[in-house]
Symmetry: C2
Amino acid sequence: MSTMENPENIVWHKCSVEKLDRQQLLKQKGCVIWITGLSGSGKSTVACALSQGLHMRGRLTYILDGDNVRHGLNRDLSFKAEDRAENIRRIAEVAKLFADAGVICIASLISPYGKDRDACRALFPEGDFIEVYMDVPLHVCENRDPKGLYKLARAGKIKGFTGVDDPYEPPLKCEVRKIMLLCRYAFIVRMLISYAGVQLIDLQIVLQQKGTDCVTPGEMAETVISYLEEKGYLQA
Amino acid sequence: MSTMENPENIVWHKCSVEKLDRQQLLKQKGCVIWITGLSGSGKSTVACALSQGLHMRGRLTYILDGDNVRHGLNRDLSFKAEDRAENIRRIAEVAKLFADAGVICIASLISPYGKDRDACRALFPEGDFIEVYMDVPLHVCENRDPKGLYKLARAGKIKGFTGVDDPYEPPLKCEVRKIMLLCRYAFIVRMLISYAGVQLIDLQIVLQQKGTDCVTPGEMAETVISYLEEKGYLQA
């Protein structure tokens, strides 16, 4: 056992350019917008709309996408429980570095367990962890299935898939929530039409054309931006 | 074995705000300045001077310090060989994210092995990995010993300490190098005076007053800034 493993041997190096200086340069406050929700709930779409909306306002954002990070930093991690927790922990730690850099960091990942999200929140100063919950019913996400993963999970080809054979724990407290009431309504319509013998594929096209969301990703992004404005994150 | 572990199931999400847009916002190009050298060679001091110099020019930098990152992202890693390699890999991956965000990222860590540094370099587009070698002789670093680690290593209390019982492989190619010729000269003077019976402590004070470096950290930082300017990194 090396004494280098003693945390006392790891000295913290302070530097005269601090978070506050970077924030003044950027005219914003560093923070993380943590977007949680089921696969197919629209996390990446909202993350993208948010980064566009903020960029248009001259603000610096950076998206940490759960999937993208698995191509680099977290390429050594599998999808077993402990590795999923480690995936979330590392993303939160990186988001913390970005927030310290003064960047508005947008983390977009399922992060299904409340305890993992709470551990992430605990890394940040009060207020700087802004949890955005994509409250989209499972059947809507599964109906979309943009990556075909629900199909694989239902076929038993993916084990421990959130919403299928692994739970999603909705946030008890979160700063912003996207609720898709219309989708619930659409589901009833879908069921009725299904009973009436209409092919589901037709309805799906109609839903896509009319929009399945009561809130569009753009509207959702605007809600988050208003929240940031109100809380003073869009000024130094 | 879950098919989620198949990389094909991890989709890359592109977003309409790209690196180029962020660079235009910041009026700079994202890159990493990788400062390598022995413990006590002045990596952190140069990193700090560099961030100050660039901040004064209105540029956004962020320092990833090997020691600091061990308090967060890499807190699960020990100092055994494979963990040291993983420490370097993760820092390089995070530096890549910062460079992608448009930030001039300054990574400051011993990174003693050529193959590890080359693996980091390979993550970046040509030119974006700027290696800065703190070419300071071991005896100078050991004489400074700012964290008292050489003393512990010589006493056998730290195993595998770079420069003592683990090698440092100097970069064969690097973009900027700090050479401390005067220190070599000072070493000879120190030896002569030592033979002459003068107390070393007196000489040490003299060396501190006159400066042991042929290049000060500020001058070194300016050299790197000139390099960045010349290569077009201080404009979008």
